[in-house]
Symmetry: C2
Subunit: 401 residues, 2 copies
């Protein structure tokens, strides 16, 4: 039976048909001129979107592999770092630092709240003398809670203190504003299956000049994730080991679609859809998890109705309404529903999501009228979209199917 | 202009249309029941083909990532190991051990020759006392020279000496006989884009009980490549980080096609095509590089005609005859041509290769008659195929295009 899914997890995101088709092209030689041209095009496009002239390296791995590369290439055994944690991916940085013997001082922020620049300033002020923290690590967009940390302001504080800034923007880049060079982000990690709308398999890592200086001093073991080898190979249009060729081809196609829309329009679309999603959630009396002032443009987390286990709601959405959302991670398991709206998402996708949510809530005996969430979301979307010139409405409203 | 390529590098191999189409299916939730079913099916199929009841773990990385996982999960800092090197991928094991501070004693074997069991016995006999080598590392099929090491006999020697046996069978598994449990291979690495005929992006690592015991003692840093985390995640039908979902789907389809043919028939096809390839090469007076007694069923390396740089011959094959082969690696650059014949290769593919080679050799003023290599190859193929019952001729001779 044909039952198309509305894949609304915060990555892998929905991959457009054109991108899927590109990933089914015949294989090519990863050491030949075609692949070298592909690598050059990918690198240029990613530099454009990430707003950097620095190196952008493509690893065949998940985003977590990119996080590990960020740590292993810039830090040394026993180095002290400041690690701000406001969710499950902050925990992942903690685990990586621990595995490599990096002395990470973790500063926890309540889940659902952002890392505030003032907190970063205070904590950095405590770091003095020769054992002071060499680097600050944090998430740009914490996927597990739907919080967007104010990276621009945080980066300013870190620059003033002259420390290395290592950022996991796996689910942020391409969905939220990010100016790698202007803000001074030294290492930034993202991944193909998030806002880039390609299949998973590629971690994307940017390296600043400062980051390369740290690389020269780094003594942590690295082989597959040795970014120096990626840089050297890229100069010959290749990768150190066999890359996920079909995913690379797909990513080029998704970057082409993104270039057609333009970065500014993409970011505005994410903001508008994100705001509309929050208004829709609230319209059916569900509680948003993230601080509204720092709500993510990529993913929205909300609590299920009182006395409903989120896992059950998620199961009904999946089994009865073919709508695939994510739950809470770690200690938030059972307490959260997370709906992704990054990448090639349209308002139509969110209308489909809300129609499923309304019906599922009904099944849990919630007092929900058909169209209640949808109307609120569409109203918010219309208001948000109004001021901006509607030059490409087809890119944001309309069905792919 | 439509110019289909004959991709004859030793991986990525040609991916059948059905497998490419599978990799273009819509994305699914990597933490949902569909993916769990996919993981279970992949694991079972790979255990069948690898002839093991042990754990088979799937990493989103190239095969080199799998080699690193093999080292990082079973060895400890300062551990002594014996590393047999007969090509570029042996050098890769050396580099990985060096990066992790593993004390690898390397034993070099002349390029083009196999690692002989007697050599392994002699070298192991020198390893006595508490600082004795804990493990033996080597390639099963050395892709860079086209040599198949006699793993069955080597494994017997290593088992007698009770050391850990870590094998890179990246380009061997699925093309050459390999009995992981029966022979006692503790860690075996292979990769999706080799004989498995899927796109690149997945490293496949098997772990024996002995290997897991070594894992418990291992102190090398590991996070992304922590095989314990893969085993724990697999029990829940998932992976620790986002996997290359589309490549996983493609691999399932290629394993389905392989199961239709059957392992025995697959191995016989590789042997027959490999032998036919060697006879074709010799028929146009080119010198095979590998010792005939240990010729690889997956890739054949040969020297270009006297006074012809292999790079030029490779370029003419590519630019004028749309035939993509590989060159020598490291110190063999310019001296070798390597033609891959692993995975879903048919004799027809090799006839196409030889037609290109004959024409290219003509361009280099070599005394070659049209059909000279092709007839010799087909003759050898017919002879080799004759004794075996020809139950599925369509699987070995016939065109995909």
């Amino acid at each position: 039976m044909y039952r198309p899914q509305n894949l609304r997890i915060p990555g892998p995101t929905v991959v457009p048909q054109a991108v899927l088709a590109a990933s089914a092209r015949p294989l090519i030689n990863h050491r030949g001129p075609e692949f070298a041209a592909l690598m050059a095009a990918l690198t240029r496009a990613l530099q454009d979107f990430l707003r950097t002239q620095g190196d952008v390296l493509l690893l065949t791995s998940s985003g977590s592999g990119g996080m590990e590369a960020a740590v292993a290439n810039t830090l040394s055994s026993g180095d002290r770092v400041l690690l701000f944690v406001n969710g499950a991916f902050g925990e992942r940085f903690v685990a990586i630092c621990k595995a490599y013997g990096v002395d990470a001082r973790r500063i926890d922020v309540p889940l659902g709240r952002a890392v505030e620049p003032d907190l970063v300033r205070e904590e950095l002020a405590k770091e003095k003398g020769k054992d002071a923290a060499k680097a600050v690590l944090l998430q740009h967009n914490e996927t597990s809670t739907g919080v967007l940390n104010p990276l621009r302001e945080i980066a300013e504080v870190v620059r003033e203190a002259d420390r290395l800034l290592i950022v996991d923007s796996i689910s942020g880049a391409g969905a939220a504003e990010l100016e790698i060079d202007e803000w001074g982000v030294d290492v930034c990690v993202t991944a193909s299956q998030k806002a880039w709308g390609a299949p998973p398999g590629i971690a994307i890592v940017s390296m600043s000049e400062r980051a390369w200086k740290a690389y020269e001093r780094s003594d942590l073991p690295k082989a597959y994730f040795d970014l120096g080898a990626y840089k050297a190979a890229l100069e010959k249009g290749a990768t150190p080991a066999t890359p996920a060729v079909t995913v690379f081809i797909a990513l080029q196609e998704s970057l082409r679609l993104m270039a057609e829309e333009g970065l500014e329009a993409i970011l505005r679309r994410h903001q508008n859809i994100s705001r509309a999603t929050r208004r829709g959630i609230q319209a059916v009396s569900l509680a948003l998890f993230a601080d509204e002032a720092h709500a993510s443009p990529a993913v929205t987390a909300f609590r299920p109705p009182t006395r409903v286990d989120a896992r059950n709601l998620i199961r009904v959405l999946r089994d009865d309404y073919d709508t695939i959302v994510a739950g809470g991670q770690g200690k938030l398991d059972g307490q959260l529903v997370r709906v992704g709206h990054m990448g090639f998402v349209t308002m139509t996708d969110m209308v489909a999501f809300f129609s499923a949510l309304e019906l599922a809530l009904k099944d849990f005996n919630q007092p929900v009228e058909p169209g209640q969430a949808i109307s609120a979301a569409l109203r918010a979307y219309a208001e948000a979209s109004a001021p901006a010139p509607r030059t490409r409405p087809a890119a944001t409203v309309g069905s792919r199917r």
